[in-house]
Amino acid sequence: MSVIALPQELSTVAGAPRSYWRTVAWRLARERATLTAGTLLLLIALSAVLAPWIAPHDPSAGAIRLRLAPVGTPSHLLGTDEQGRDMLSRLLWGGRMTLVAGLTPVVVAFLMGTLLGVIAGYTGGLANTLVMRTMDVFYAFPAVLLAIAISGALGPGLPNTLISLSIVFVPRVVRVAESATVQVKGLEYVAAAKASGASVWQILRYHLLANVLGPVLVFASTQVSLSIILAAGLSFLGLGVTPPAAEWGLMLNTLRQSIYVNAVVPALPGLAIFVTSMAFNLVSDGLRDAMEIRA
């Protein structure tokens, strides 16, 4: 019965070999949770990018008479905040800030951390000790405390938030990159490349980075949700984005006193943070599974 279907089945098992990234894409495409979360992320990102065009109101224009309007108010679909500003518009605009604050530090940490980690791991010896012990100093502090301390010292504002969060995430990436590098460096295919006369650059490019970037990328993707929450946390404490700019953490802070007047509206930015970081987590989980190399 299924004998006729066999050739088709075979093509997926033993068929034309595909490149690594096509395999990853193929695996990703059959993970329902990853796909759903990915679609959600795409929507969130899209709405953040398009905020200036799709937001129904000016995010900072308030109406004193329309404060804390409930969800479902005509022309204010998600209600208004404590100054009568449209919540939907503010959430859309706030997504821009939150995504920038969440992604930038991770991207910076990914680049700098990989560079430092691979150098430390590959050269070993004194350079390794120097880099890794310095990272340990940062690592000794809890992430939140470190972010607050640096932001507190630098002062509020988005650029300073990005700097402080980058400093939080670099050491973590360095650690992952360093341990992956040390592990790969000791493998025989690197020795084989040396034996064939390959330069350090060629070894790094073709043998090391190709095998180190994957795990580091997966690790970095798990940090995005944390970065979003930390960024929101800094804004909540008044150390991040400053009013009247819309940012989810900041909105949560300014709305928190209103929770007894209207419980639903103040919860909206929190929900947005939750959904976004959850989606990032699910996508990074899926990415980890899909990028696994079967040795």
Binding site: A16, P17, Y20, L187, E188, Y189, A191, A192, A193, K194, A195, S196, G197, A198, S199, Q202, Y206, H207, A210, N211, I293, R294, A295
Partner: protein, 330 residues
């Protein structure tokens, strides 16, 4: 150095520090390879046999200068490998290649096997298309159809197939000398035989010289012209494969042959194989390193390392039992 040898080593030594404490000072030294000298003539196969941890793999890496020795020298085709300039070293590397033991760790999981083989050619300046063609041709030569396997990744191949890829990678630069570090130890017996026969065929075809490292005496006997027996980083006996098989002299060699499974009941030895593990190479016994497990140990054995003594044509043994014979310069 005499041009009759393709490869010569003299007094090779490598001690690895064991670091500890806050200052990471060397607390102790692992004597991986201690004073090893030998010659390999063009076209011959030198077998190196010994237990795990006796320094065989370190020796392989020393020969290819993947590890710098603490003392001693390596000469390839009369050229001092340890003192050549980097550019010349890169050229020399084409002539001496290594086949690794672990078919899993020795291939980059992110390169297709034809890319893995072609990589060495790219390193030496070949064009992409040319390198790929030559890699594919060589894959065919080692028994892997390039149309079927060329674009595959290592994880899609069996251990035996991977080892064929390793051999192709080592041969793609057209080397004169191939150092084989336990090339068949990780394979099943039947696959071992296939790979060994492939290696012998290739050797005849391409006029290769082999340094064949293994812990398996049967394999060594099968492929080698001459054999070096190592124990704890030192050579205890060397001679032609036949001489060693007929009349092993060193008590360790005798024990090795006694321990090797034999199909011939007449060849079973009365002497019991040695018991226990080799001593720790961090703190090897003084004098003859084998004396702690030797049935014939004498007080003299603890004093100094016995010098190699000729007991036959090209047959040397480092043991005081044969002390009466003329000593060869160490």
């Amino acid at each position: 150095m005499s041009p009759a040898s393709l490869l010569q080593t003299r007094g090779l030594r490598k001690h690895y520090p064991l670091r500890g404490g806050v200052l990471r000072r060397a607390q102790a030294w692992v004597r991986a390879v201690d004073d090893v000298s030998f010659d390999v003539k063009p076209g011959e196969t030198l077998g190196i046999v010994g237990e795990s941890g006796c320094g065989k793999s370190t020796l392989a890496r020393l020969i290819l200068r993947l590890v710098e020795p603490d003392a001693g020298g390596v000469w390839f085709d009369g050229e001092d490998v340890l003192r050549v300039l980097p550019g010349r070293m890169k050229r020399l590397r084409r002539d001496m290649q290594l086949v690794f033991q672990d078919p899993y760790a020795s291939l980059n999981p992110r390169l297709t096997i034809e890319d893995a083989v072609a990589f060495s050619l790219l390193v030496h300046g070949a064009g992409r298309a040319d390198a790929r063609d030559r890699a594919r041709a060589l894959l065919g030569r080692v028994g892997l159809d390039p149309h079927l396997y060329g674009r595959r990744y290592p994880h899609e191949l069996s251990g035996g197939q991977r080892q064929r890829v390793n051999i192709a990678r080592a041969l793609v630069l057209d080397p004169k000398l191939l150092v084989l570090d336990e090339p068949v130890s990780a394979l099943d017996k039947s696959v071992q035989a296939q790979v060994l026969n492939l290696l012998l065929e290739l050797k005849a075809d391409r006029e290769l010289t082999y340094v064949f490292i293994s812990h398996d005496l049967n394999v060594i006997e099968y492929v080698s012209d001459r054999v070096l027996v190592m124990y704890l980083g030192q050579v205890v006996e060397s001679g032609t494969a036949d001489a060693l098989a007929e009349s092993p002299k060193h008590p360790y060699t005798q024990a090795l042959f006694a321990a090797a499974p034999s199909m011939d009941p007449d060849r079973r030895m009365e002497r019991p194989p040695i018991a226990g593990d080799p001593p720790n190479p961090i703190d090897p016994p003084s004098g003859c390193r084998f004396r702690t497990r030797c049935a014939f140990a004498m007080p003299q054995c603890a004093d100094a390392v016995p010098p190699p003594v000729a007991v036959g044509a090209g047959h040397d043994v480092a043991c005081y039992l044969y002390g009466a014979a003329t000593a060869v310069t160490a």
